[in-house]
């Protein structure tokens, strides 16, 4: 049974956020502005997507689903980029992050829709859009972390990398340690949440399903599916990003080429 939320329920939650912002302002913590903006964004964006989904569910058009997916992936790619301290110059930055999201989210969602869910039609927005959103939201975390770690560490460890190059190592040998370190950084969030799932935390999607009245075991099955897809997606996405960037950091003569990175932002 689904208990519908009233506007009053939402206002109550909003008042909590408001109070937090006021406290932050009184204590000069400097978070009030960004908290309010984020809260406002969440409200507007979710209401909008609610309306879009409502329209989508009534007209199941492939091109429409694809269009929405494209928008979602681009925005996620942009978000990843804006979390980076040192971005790749030019279109490379956006290209690398969006490309890796394509691998980590789009392809995996496609596989899941075609092989696992098999809705009719397979691109039915009721499944396609939430799945893609779930994957994007989670994998972009790992990708942003791994990417940031790679460029930052490479920048800081320039002397060590060049020392290894001087000794005749190839660029990929010279950066191998930093790359595996970055892989670890990117995978920690999803590995943590898989390890803690059920014991420490009830994952958000499952909680939502149960609150909305789904039988717990069904909700659990979906959650496991999602978890596996997120970890696979994050892993493949981070690998793609690290592979691309660690190549891009060197020129064709195995020289570090930091001019391809933008200054700290």
């Amino acid at each position: 049974m689904l208990i519908s939320l009233s506007s009053f329920d939402l206002i109550l939650a909003a008042i909590l956020v408001l109070l937090l912002g006021m406290l932050g302002w009184a204590m000069r913590l400097g978070i009030t502005r960004s908290l309010y903006i984020a809260a406002l964004r969440t409200t507007v964006q979710l209401l909008l997507i609610g309306l879009v989904l409502k329209a989508l569910f009534t007209s199941t058009q492939l091109w429409f689903v694809l269009l929405i997916s494209l928008v979602m992936i681009s925005v996620a790619g942009w978000e990843i980029l804006s979390r980076q301290k040192r971005k790749l110059r030019g279109w490379w930055g956006f290209g690398v992050s969006t490309g890796s999201l394509f691998v980590s989210s789009f392809l995996i969602t496609l596989l899941c829709l075609l092989v696992v869910i098999e809705a009719d039609p397979w691109y039915h927005p009721q499944y396609a859009i939430p799945l893609l959103g779930m994957l994007l939201g989670n994998t972009m975390n790992g990708i942003a972390l791994g990417m940031d770690r790679l460029t930052q560490t490479a920048w800081q460890q320039r002397p060590v990398i060049e020392q290894r190059l001087m000794l005749g190592q190839s660029s990929q040998q010279a950066i191998a340690d930093i790359r595996s370190e970055s892989m670890r950084a990117g995978m920690i969030p999803i590995i943590n949440s898989m390890a803690a799932a059920g014991l420490v935390s009830l994952p958000g999607m499952m909680t939502g399903q149960i609150l909305a009245g789904a039988p717990p075991v069904e909700a659990v099955k979906y959650q496991i599916l999602i978890m596996f897809m997120i970890s696979a997606g994050t892993g493949f996405g981070v690998i793609a990003v690290l592979w691309l960037i660690s190549r891009r950091l060197f020129d064709e003569r195995d020289r570090l080429s930091f001019k391809r990175l933008l200054k700290k932002s």
Partner: protein
């Protein structure tokens, strides 16, 4: 038998530089700070972009991969860096006898790299570089942090290596006496160009 030939080398605002070094020969370079000595060595090791030609035994830099080139044209920069915890892990096989020849403690291979003094750093850096058996040595003020005794051992070690292997070397130093002891020819780097008649004074 190794020889290095530099033709019309240009990098940043320096050059063109022409230089020919024969097997068994050590060429000394000196000049004020910022004159482009380190940059020259980096260009020769293909670590910085540059124009012109560098040939090793007649084979050009571009004819082989950069890692191949760098393991034959070895650069020892003024500071040595490590990336693993223990000294010996950076070597294929740590040569204790060699270490003692350079005046290093017997068990230094087992030391954590954080324990090394800057002088020990530099001598171990040389040992690690020579593991590749490079044909050309590019030494960038290698003894700046060494005491006179260790400097002496370092110099003898390099001179012996160059002679035994018929290798050749470029030695950048601020110490005219050192270049007199080690180098066969010396040049000053001035405004990015080689100057002088080759005499070490």
């Amino acid at each position: 038998m190794s020889s290095l030939c530099v033709r019309q080398l240009q990098y940043l605002h320096c050059g063109p530089i022409d230089l020919q070094i024969e097997a068994g020969e050590i060429v000394g370079l000196y000049g004020v700070s910022g004159s482009g000595k380190s940059r020259l060595l980096r260009a020769l090791a293909d670590l910085d972009e540059h124009q012109g030609e560098v040939l090793l035994n007649g084979a050009s830099q571009q004819s082989m991969s950069a890692p191949q080139w760098r393991s034959q044209v070895g650069l020892l920069s003024a500071e040595t860096f490590w990336w693993l915890d223990e000294v010996a892990s950076h070597f294929q096989q740590f040569d204790q006898a060699q270490a003692m020849q350079l005046g290093l403690p017997e068990d230094i291979g087992d030391w954590p790299v954080s324990r090394l003094s800057s002088g020990e750093n530099q001598r171990l850096g040389l040992m690690r570089l020579l593991e590749n058996r490079p044909e050309v040595l590019l030494l960038d003020e290698p003894t700046a942090n060494l005491d006179p005794q260790s400097t002496d051992a370092f110099e003898r070690f390099v001179v012996d290596y160059v002679q035994q292997q018929s290798a050749c070397a470029i030695w950048v130093s601020h110490d005219p006496q050192q270049l007199k002891r080690t180098a066969h020819r010396c040049y000053q780097i001035e405004n990015g160009m080689l100057a002088g008649n080759g005499e070490c004074s």
